[in-house]
């Protein structure tokens, strides 16, 4: 029986072309990822300058601090950076060293923001509350994601308080001090600190609203 010919002259170039197209796809994909990382770096840098500026302003106008301080832009930028980092983490994975490094730095910026708001609270009778949210995406915490979702929802509807979210396992001396101060341990995550009161384990939407003393009248239209 006569053998049928195999058209290698078609298959080999087609195979090589497929590999080339795949490689081009990968290169484009990774450059897009690099562009996103660069975007976050740039934003962090802007915020670092902003927060430093705020600190210096507080030193310079200490006698008229309460009238001069305006944290709205600073806070908005922090929120935007937080969202970007969350998104980046969902793309790159929780164990990505690049994201971990960015988050580490972000947590320092958060602590700095928190300190500034604390200072304003003491000096200017600012009633704005805060929640420190300790969670982990790296370790084992079944309720952390749910707690994050509830907090985001409450904050979106009652924006008159600050939320500071910290990954428990970040290697960061300032964060370690904060954990020590509120006695945060890995096996009791998620942990919320609402205006200096510590709550271990998952807390519902109603509980958080009560702890923050917000009512439906405070809800944003």
């Amino acid at each position: 029986m006569k053998r049928k010919k195999i058209r290698y002259s078609i298959y080999i170039p087609a195979f090589l072309l497929t590999i080339i197209m795949f490689l081009i796809g990968f290169i484009i994909g990774s450059s897009v990822s690099d562009i996103k990382l660069q975007n976050v770096y740039d934003l962090q840098n802007d915020i670092r300058i902003e927060s430093l500026g705020n600190e210096l302003m507080f030193e310079l106008v200490s006698e008229d601090l309460c009238n001069s301080a305006n944290l709205s832009t600073y806070t908005l930028e922090m929120t935007s950076l937080g969202k970007r980092l969350d998104y980046l983490e969902s793309l790159e994975g929780y164990d990505s060293p690049r994201v971990a490094s960015l988050k580490n730095y972000y947590s320092l910026l958060l602590i700095r923001h928190w300190l500034i708001t604390q200072k304003l609270k003491e000096s200017c009778d600012d009633e704005k509350g805060y929640v420190l949210f300790f969670y982990t995406n790296i370790g084992n915490c079944e309720d952390c994601e749910d707690q994050g979702l509830v907090l985001t929802n409450v904050h979106r509807n009652y924006p008159d308080f600050y939320v500071y979210s910290f990954e428990y396992y970040l290697d960061n001396a300032a964060l370690d001090l904060l954990k020590e101060r509120y006695n945060i341990t890995s096996y009791r995550l998620p942990t919320l600190v609402v205006d200096d009161s510590v709550y271990y384990g998952f807390r519902s939407k109603g509980f958080i609203k009560q702890a923050l003393n917000v009512t439906d009248e405070d809800q944003e239209d």
């Binding site: 053998r3 170039p13 897009v32 985001t152």
Partner: protein, 420 residues
Amino acid sequence: MIFTFYDFVIYVLSFVGLFVSMVYIAVLLTRNKHRHKIDPKFKPKISIIIPVWNEGSAQGERIRKTVDSLLNCNYPKSKLEIIIVNDGSTDNSLEIANSYKKHGVKVYSNKKSLGKTRAVNKGIKHCTGRFVATLDADSYIMPDVLDKLISCFKDKNVMAAIPSINIWKPKSILQKIQFIEFFSAVFIRFIQSELGAVPLAPGAFTLIRKSFIEKYGYFSHKTMVEDLEISLRIQSENFLIENVPDARVYTSGLNNIRGFYRQRIRWFLGLMIQLKKYKHLFNWKYGNLAVFILPTMVTYIFLALFLFYYAIIMLVKDTVEWIHDVLLAGIDWASILEYKFDIFFVTIRNTTVLPILLLIIMIVFFMLIKRISGEKQSIFIPFIMFALTYWFLGSLGWVLSIYYYIAKKKVKWGPNYYDS
């Protein structure tokens, strides 16, 4: 980037899909445009067998259109033998068939329905042509089809020649989807023919060298896909099946989903059974059929299963997660109403780009085959319907077929039952 199992499968399938597309492009670029030149002197006798089972009043007498299309074709009448085999119809099919006797049409009849295959074989036994074609009683040929197909047989290695088969004036959504399903088969058969490796000569219309049937056997009535079986038999003997894309035959699309799935189960299940029976064809000596066409068909089965599994899993997972989130935090109207577009949150992943790229390539192929085959019916709206639904409809057909195969369920086709 996170690399999940699904990503891995999408990468593998996209790579295969892209490679297959590149092969198709290479075939298109290197094809011989004058391969199917009509030879006006080569007009051997052709016998056309039309098996009929309740194609009269039960189906709006569409058999008339089928026979009329043959009587109106360009092929010399003296060289054309039309045979109608009435397979125990209970309507007026026989009466209609007999009315064509005055036009020289021969009519044979089974008192009881024995199934399409036995009816076709009966017709072949009575026919006198050197070439024999089977034509379904719901299909119609264009006037130049026989002239175009017969020229292929000047090559002694060609045992069968097939036209483009498409749906005539699709009206319902289901028919429009079938139109593109058939149209994609037109393209694929064209490529397979260029590679000398057509694995299926469709039963709706195929012209076969009668000497092959006499030597290697008639259509097998033991299978539910007699057309595929005889095609693989032709390939087993290392002969050729030629496709002439601009020879057009039309058939009626099914109009109910139950019939649609019954047909797909018969086709897909039949394909699996025949691939197992003819597994020796996965051998290098069978050329492009072994190294490219058959592996592509097997990959397609996996793709269909993966698409179905992936779609169902994702749908269930997303719904469960959404319900969980709503119960926990309520519907977050604020985030929906205050949504602001930000390019940062748009990620073009390779796993999204590659299937989109393949879809674009597919559209280009469709436009090309539309030109090559001379198809006049618009493909735009049907293609949109096909792209939106077939990934599920087709995949479900495969899932059901595999269930039939594993559960060894019997399949009814006509009056007969077939083992899985």
